[in-house]
């Protein structure tokens, strides 16, 4: 692992929501081209970890660096501006905008690259024929699975080198979960670095190179995905039935 230059380094951060502390000295690294998964039960601090990287919450202690530069305390748009895309928890598509407009907004940081955009949009429509069919429809009228596809496509239009994804399988039928992971495997093959938060440990560990398991805002276990997936102790204690 050490030979891979780290893209994200989270070093001993504390995060508070008012009086509530959500993360306690959490550290984590994501190497270039790596897929790193953050696992853990409900309220263990997974989303907070990803929000810290995206600048949506500010650590009260510790540092976060992205490609060697400090980003803790920076605004989300500055961080996104450095080649990062986000697939938020619960998809968060814009319900009263068309599918087409949602996709365009994914490319907001590249709005001056009009030429490339048209081509990329075509590629998205090729990869997701459903979205092409429904491009004029309001995003809020689509099913959860379709919205998740839209959220993924929207993030891809950022043409990111690094994607933060929060629970992409949440609330989806197994068929859609498979589709989501098919897309993510494709991204991995393209060499996109991925920080993936999941409760669905089985799917995540198949995709990930390494994983961290959180409990009560701390890293309880970490290791390669293979080690974690095969360790019966870990599976029982942290990964539930997975």
């Amino acid at each position: 692992m050490a030979d891979i230059a780290p893209r994200i380094v989270i070093d001993a951060i504390d995060v508070h929501y008012g009086a509530v502390q959500a993360l306690f000295g959490l550290s984590l690294t994501v190497g270039d081209g790596e897929v790193v998964s953050v696992l853990g039960g409900n309220a263990s601090g997974k989303s907070t970890t990803i929000k810290s990287v995206l600048g949506l919450v500010r650590p009260t202690k510790g540092t976060i660096t992205l490609d060697g530069l400090r980003v803790d305390g920076q605004r989300p748009d500055a961080i996104i501006g450095r080649g990062v895309a986000s697939v938020p928890e619960g998809r968060r598509v814009f319900p009263d905008m068309s599918v087409y407009e949602n996709l365009l907004l994914g490319a907001y940081p590249r709005r001056r690259e009009a030429k490339d955009l048209a081509g990329d949009l075509e590629r998205v429509y090729e990869a997701f024929p459903r979205l092409k069919e429904r491009r004029a429809q309001l995003a809020g009228t689509m099913s959860g699975g379709e919205q998740q596809m839209l959220a993924l496509a929207r993030a891809w239009l950022r043409r990111p080198s690094l994607v933060c994804i929060d629970e992409p399988s949440m609330g989806l039928s197994p068929r859609f979960v498979d589709q989501v992971y098919e897309v993510l495997h494709g991204w991995k093959a393209q060499g996109i670095t991925i920080l993936l938060v999941e409760q669905n440990a089985r799917m995540a560990l198949e995709l990930a190179d390494r994983a961290y398991v959180l409990q009560h805002g701390r890293v309880a276990v970490s290791g390669t995905a293979r080690e974690l997936a095969s360790d019966p102790q870990v599976r029982k204690a942290y990964l539930g039935a997975a």
Partner: protein, 625 residues
């Protein structure tokens, strides 16, 4: 029939202007989730800057309009920067009060710069009249309609097809998600305020052309109408704002043609209240208000119905400091000795006004603080009490026992009726509902000449006589001092007993979480009406005493300025904290006595005080309760 059609055409023109004001509200509400009370002030500034550019610098109309639009757009940006940005994470009601304070400061500054009088607008469009069949429309109306419509179309295109427009809409729909796509949501907020300023200025200029006059007080009534139009259309929707504006314009023009022009505004505000009563989500029904807990529960940016809650849990709570009911009695007795040592009529007179406003501030604090329905209309209740005494005291020769009793009962009744349209509202929307009530009250005092004698007012109100004290007459200043002090202390003791009783606890529960209160089976509506009845009774008593002290009752005592003043008193004291309200009501009422010569700066000072308090101590001096 021709008249009818002509009125409709005429209404479309002014309605298009209302639509522009409404769009200003909608944009800001959509993107920043607050109702910008200062929209009316931006509108007024737009008209006056154009006025000055023409009258002082002799610019042609179009150039003057362009200058004004640019300046006011910049002022819109500044408004966001100065009055709102520092309040992120403050209690949910703080931004609204902050724009209210700014609006007060701007309005009063305009009176100082341009004089309080109405002035003819120095540019006019031609008065050529066109006929469509037998219906007619003037060129002015046509131009106004065309400009308004063009601005609306331009805005719609901008919002629909540009990157910035898309980003604005995305921010409005889901600000956190927009931020994760790399959109600078703070910048979007600023742009929304800048656009609102530009729209406000443009609509101000069009209104100046339409009515051919400008006056510094024009902001509030037109702002309120724009808000009514926005609400009619569902508050966050652009087509809704346009439809709402046109409907309001037509409705109001028809009403003024068939009922009388002096009722034009009263009818517009009544429509607003009816709207709030029947369909608070607007005609085009925005689900957005529902998402915030339902228009019935939390309209405005508030996930809870509480005025004082905030999105940041880092707020340090301030312990409220307040007197028990008997404490007011003790303080009252202490004050009763003052005339024994001080004979200056001037000082006693100032103290009398201090007492009356202490009572009025407590009355305001009751609905605004304890129940959480911010009242910007309390001057109407105050006025009802004053007029009741003014009307009954002389011709019927009634004693003060009788007149004050009528004042109290009548005002309580009026307050209860006024509260009915507010029952399903909270937050910013409820506040604007109370503003409409206050405006209607003022317009009735001004226009119901056969009863109130209109602008002349009621003069020569006799000295009060109390039958229960064996016909004692209160003629000297010292005697009136004791009379007022006595009644005010009784009022305060009763109010404090209510708010400290289980009833007060229910009020606060309703304020904190109306849905939960409802779910636990509390008769929420009855408790709110009770609060309004008591608050109305206290305001009526204050008004009655005020009439006896002034010996004159006239509409200008009951303007929106008075309402804003008493609300400021209630906020400064700590909402729901009656000791705080009484102290700050008393202090702020006697303060101008020490600022003689600065009379016109009074409202500016109050506005600055409110602004400062929101930044430094949003919980009020003695702590909200």
């Amino acid at each position: 029939m021709e008249l009818f059609l002509s009125q409709i055409l005429n209404g479309l023109a002014i309605g298009q202007v209302y639509a522009l004001i409404a769009l200003g509200f909608s944009l800001v509400f959509g993107v920043a989730n607050i109702i910008n009370f200062a929209q009316g002030a931006l509108f007024m500034l737009g008209a006056f800057i154009a006025y000055s550019a023409i009258a002082w610098f002799e610019l042609p109309l179009v150039a003057a309009a362009a200058v004004s639009v640019v300046i006011v757009a910049i002022l819109g940006l500044l408004l966001e920067r100065i009055a709102l940005r520092p309040l992120i994470g403050a209690p949910y009601i703080a931004p609204f009060l902050s724009t209210l304070a700014i609006s007060t400061i701007i309005d009063q500054s305009a009176e100082i710069i341009w004089s309080p009088e109405s002035q003819p607008f120095p540019a006019a469009l031609s008065n050529t009249t066109f006929f469509i069949g037998n219906a007619y429309i003037t060129l002015t109306d046509l131009v106004i309609f065309a400009f308004g419509a063009a601005a609306t179309v331009a805005l719609t295109l901008f919002i629909s097809f540009t990157w910035t427009g898309r980003a604005l809409r995305a921010t409005a729909q889901d600000s956190a998600a927009a931020a994760q796509l790399g959109i600078r949501t703070e910048a979007m907020r600023q742009i929304a305020f800048g656009l609102a300023g530009a729209l406000g200025a443009l609509s101000g200029i069009l209104v100046a052309l339409y009515f051919q006059s400008v006056f510094p007080q024009m902001g509030i009534p037109f702002g309120l109408k724009g808000f009514a139009a926005a609400l009619l259309g569902g508050l966050a929707s652009i087509p809704g704002a346009v439809v709402g504006g046109l409907l309001l314009g037509i409705g109001e023009t028809l009403a003024s043609a068939y009922v009388g022009d002096s009722y034009r505004d009263a009818i517009a505000f009544t429509l607003l209240l009816l709207m709030l009563l029947v369909k608070p989500n607007g005609l085009l029904g925005s689900k957005r208000l529902d998402a915030l807990g339902g228009a019935g529960a939390a309209a405005g940016a508030m996930p809870t119905t509480s005025l004082l809650a905030s999105s940041s849990s880092q707020q340090t709570a301030i312990r409220a400091v307040y007197l028990p009911a008997w404490g007011f009695l003790v303080v009252g007795i202490a004050f009763a000795t003052v005339p024994l040592v001080l004979t200056s009529t001037y000082v006693l007179q100032a103290l009398i006004y201090g007492f009356i406003f202490a009572l009025l501030a407590v009355s305001t604090s009751l609905v605004s603080g304890s129940v959480g329905i911010l009242s910007i209309g309390h001057a109407a209740f105050f006025g009802v009490g004053a007029y009741a005494v003014g009307i009954l005291a002389r011709p019927y020769g009634l004693s003060a026992d009788a007149t004050l009793l009528v004042a109290i009962a009548l005002t309580a009744l009026v307050a209860v009726v006024a509260a009915i349209p507010l029952l399903r509202l909270t937050g910013h929307t409820a506040a604007l509902g109370t503003l409409a009530i206050g405006q209607i009250g003022f317009l009735v005092f001004l226009n119901w000449v056969s009863v109130t004698r209109g602008p002349m007012g009621i003069l020569n109100i006799p000295h009060p006589v109390l039958e229960i004290l064996g016909g004692a007459r209160f003629a000297t200043t010292a005697q009136k001092y004791w009379l007022v002090l006595g009644f005010v202390v009784i009022g305060l003791v009763i109010a404090e007993r209510y708010v400290s009783s289980p009833i007060g606890r229910v009020w606060r529960a309703i304020r904190e979480d109306r849905l939960a209160a409802q779910a636990s089976g509390l008769p929420v509506k009855r408790y709110i009406l009770l609060a309004f009845a008591i608050s109305g009774a206290l305001a009526g008593l204050a008004g009655g005493l005020f009439a006896y002290v002034q010996q004159v009752v006239s509409p200008e005592s009951f303007t929106v300025e008075t309402s804003i003043l008493v609300l400021t008193m209630a906020v400064l004291g700590g909402l729901g904290n009656f000791t705080g309200a009484a102290v700050s009501g008393f202090a702020l009422a006697i303060l101008p006595e020490f600022l003689r010569g600065f009379a016109e700066w009074r409202m500016i000072i109050y506005g600055l005080l409110l602004l400062a308090a929101l930044r430094v101590r949003p919980q009020g001096l003695l702590g909200a309760r």
